[in-house]
């Protein structure tokens, strides 16, 4: 006992006069056991909600490689797993592919603001094509109703619900992923779960995203969406034509966004939003092909073409233009 206060400095406590250590000790041991038991019981009860997580992850998914590091055989196995999962959940065998970018293709989008009437058909076609969650509703395209005479987005209205569109005195500005050539979202991702493909599409590996949402904070176009809940897609709405980097059903806790309908466009079709547009405001194509419609528009409408937030230096592949 005497060596316990060997260093000077601390206040010297008085020695205890009466030591009832034994009874105290046994009491502590008893209550310690009871506390430990109560603690384990409380912990078990407290973690009960985790039982719902049975299908959250598996060793197979955890050990799955990053998209860019998978061999073709590994990718085949993964595509098969995805198909099995979709079948189990929706009772329909999907056609899941991993379409690669085509050589000599760089996709570009152009949107004619003089034509857009703000009907939001593109928004819904996109949801249907890309298997977005219906509850909670998740949409890639946001149409902003703008008063004529300004491009100041803070003056816009997002939740407009008039009897009919277009409304007098307004124009409509649909915004979706701008597929930047210098994408801030890609730069910030801590795990390289999102990157730019050679054909200009910025994609996400949904099986690699950790859900930190840093890319959402970085995006100057409000283009990225997060699955705050397990996505729910009505069975009858499921689009069975799927691709790994595109519209296969997503899991809870990951980010997604417009990918120019990669499952369509890499197979030579137009994006769903373009096909549905009733006024032909949307144009899409290969900018490396001088004969394409998109090349023609960018060449001929040059004076009336602009990109959103040019000062950000993001170099979008999404152009807005006006008729003369």
């Amino acid at each position: 006992m005497s060596d316990m206060h060997s260093t000077p400095g601390p206040r010297e406590p008085a020695r205890p006069g009466n030591d009832n250590g034994m009874s105290r000790r046994s009491f502590l041991r008893l209550s310690g056991g009871a506390t430990a038991f109560a603690g384990v019981a409380a912990l078990t009860a407290g973690l009960a909600p985790l039982r719902e997580l049975a299908s959250f992850t598996s060793l197979e998914k955890f050990l799955q490689k990053h998209y860019k590091e998978m061999t073709p055989r590994e990718m085949e196995r993964v595509l098969d797993r995805i198909a099995r999962e979709v079948e189990r959940q929706y009772g329909m065998r999907p056609h899941v592919r991993d379409l690669k970018p085509m050589d000599g293709v760089e996709f570009v989008y152009a949107l004619n603001l003089s034509r857009c009437i703000g009907c939001r058909r593109c928004v819904h076609a996109c949801v249907a094509e890309n298997n977005q969650s219906g509850d909670p509703a998740l949409e890639y395209i946001r149409v902003v109703k703008m008063p004529q005479g300004t491009f100041d987005l803070t003056k816009g209205e997002h939740n407009y619900e008039p009897e009919s569109v277009p409304e007098e005195g307004y124009f409509y500005m649909p915004v979706q992923c701008q597929q930047c050539a210098n994408p801030p979202c890609v730069k910030v991702c801590p795990v390289r779960a999102t990157w730019q493909e050679p054909d200009g599409i910025t994609v996400i590996d949904y099986d690699w995203c950790i859900g930190c949402r840093y890319c959402q904070a970085a995006c100057p176009y409000f283009a990225r969406r997060f699955n705050f809940k397990k996505p729910v897609i009505p069975k009858e709405r499921l689009n069975p034509n799927m691709s790994y980097l595109g519209n296969r059903p997503r899991e809870v806790g990951v980010v997604e966004k417009c990918h120019f309908c990669i499952q369509r466009t890499r197979a030579g079709r137009y994006p769903a939003c373009l096909e549905v547009c009733p006024v032909g405001a949307r144009k899409f194509g290969n900018v490396l092909d001088p004969e394409s419609e998109i090349s023609y528009i960018l060449r001929e409408k040059r004076v009336f073409t602009f990109i959103l937030k040019e000062e950000q230096g993001t170099l979008p592949r999404f152009f807005y233009y006006l008729d003369k």
Partner: protein
């Protein structure tokens, strides 16, 4: 082998002392454990239900978790404010207290890591950040930088205090080359963890509210207020509940740090507010939302003005000589801590998202579940800090050391009643 065995014996004694104490210690630890468990339950709910159980949305995609994270990185960084006077200016008043500062840093980093983890949508994939197994985007992503510097800071501090305490336990003189270089690295590193955290925000060019060069300096200044202020309060609690002597001079040395840092912080705030409001450009919409609200959306307005009032009170007390009296100093410290927590937490993170880049105004309000998780992480941090102190104080005082190791082991393998528990126990009786 004896080296390993000795070290394991040391760890065993540390573990044992962590579970020993008087009824107040058990009550305190019991309450903290209960809150932590409640939070664990809330987190289980969040894992099962997704982040929809929080108040976050696509529009405001970070909330109270990242707010607390930002504040606590500052606390961790500021722990070195005790180290600098000791090792650079050789201030003896603070020399043993360095350990307390570094323990606080360790606890704060643990809280930081907990806050980023609960913010993840897929914590099961956190391992994808480990180089080799995953694909850490270093040096591209500032978040990757943050993970690296925080982990490094945790290791540095754990090494320094672990080594110093073990030497004290063994009654060895610490070898200077084995810890002094780390101390100096830790000082620079501390500044870096908070700078990197600032860059996390500053690097987002699309968010005008954050993308300001002044954010980094303001982070450091406010951290050097809140951190030492927290240490001032913690030291007084330590000297009240243990037999450890903390001289008033040490508290007053810290006071002058808080004082200067608070003045610099206020000066930088004025710079920031002037730039945002006098220029009156469209880039000031987030600041307008924060301070005055936009079109009736004003959830943060009462908070930020409370923070400003608290900071002004703290500043006023600190610059006056009355703050040499501990009662006033404590008031100032408490005001400053709360004020900075609001201003640099929710007051920094949320307005960055409002309005959105497309001009939409969506407000954020943390849910009950989210709030409970945050409280629980604080409780967990306090739990960790208390345990670390519970172990370190008797070692620093010399009441647990190599000499009495044998006696304890021979006495009774399972006894909770070691000499160091008696010291605490006796003090309670004295107070009665």
């Amino acid at each position: 082998m004896t080296v390993v065995r000795n070290y394991l014996l040391f760890l065993r004694r540390c573990l044992r002392v962590a579970f020993a104490g008087d009824w107040r210690y058990y009550a305190w630890m019991g309450v903290l454990t209960a809150i932590t468990l409640a939070g664990l339950h809330a987190y289980a709910e969040q894992l099962a239900g997704g982040l929809a159980t929080t108040g976050m949305t696509d529009q405001v995609s970070w909330g109270i978790y990242i707010a607390n994270f930002t504040f606590l990185v500052g606390v961790a960084a500021a722990a070195v404010m005790l180290v600098i006077p000791v090792y650079i200016y050789r201030n003896r008043h603070l020399s043993d207290l360095v350990v307390f500062g570094e323990l606080l840093a360790v606890a704060a980093i643990l809280m930081c890591l907990a806050f980023v983890t609960v913010d993840l949508g897929r914590p099961d994939r956190a391992a994808y950040m480990v180089p080799g197994f995953g694909k850490l985007n270093f040096p591209g992503s500032m978040l990757a930088w943050d993970v690296v510097v925080l982990a490094g800071y945790l290791l540095l501090n754990a090494h320094i205090i672990g080594y110093l305490l073990y030497c004290r336990y063994q009654n060895w003189t610490p070898r200077r080359w084995f810890y002094i270089p780390f101390v100096f690295v830790a000082i620079v590193w501390a500044i870096s963890i908070h700078t990197v955290t600032a860059f996390l925000f500053v690097g987002l060019g699309g968010r005008d509210f954050w993308s300001q060069a002044i954010v980094g300096p303001r982070f450091i200044a406010s951290a050097f207020v809140a951190g030492p202020a927290l240490i001032i309060l913690a030291l007084q609690v330590i000297r009240r509940v243990s037999t450890y002597v903390v001289p008033d001079e040490a508290l007053l040395t810290l006071r002058s740090i808080v004082q200067v840092a608070m003045l610099i912080n206020a000066f930088l705030l004025i710079n920031e507010v002037f730039k945002k409001f006098y220029t009156d450009t469209a880039h000031g919409a987030s600041a307008e939302y924060l301070y005055f609200g936009i079109n009736g959306h004003d959830a943060l307005v009462p908070w930020i003005w409370t923070a400003i009032a608290l900071n002004i009170v703290a500043l006023a007390i600190l610059v006056l000589p009355v703050s040499k009296s501990l009662r006033y100093l404590n008031t100032a410290c408490a005001c400053a801590i709360v004020g900075i927590w609001i201003e640099k937490g929710m007051g920094l993170v949320v307005p960055g998202f409002v309005p959105t880049p497309l001009g939409e105004v969506v407000e954020y309000m943390p849910t009950w579940n989210e709030t409970l998780i945050s409280f629980a992480i604080w409780a967990f941090g306090l739990l960790a800090f208390t345990v670390l102190l519970r172990i370190s104080i008797p070692i620093l005082q010399g009441s647990i050391n190599k000499e009495n190791e044998r006696a304890e082991i021979r006495g009774s393998g399972r006894s909770v009643r070691t000499p160091e528990t008696r010291a605490l126990h006796v003090q309670t009786e004295e107070e009665k």
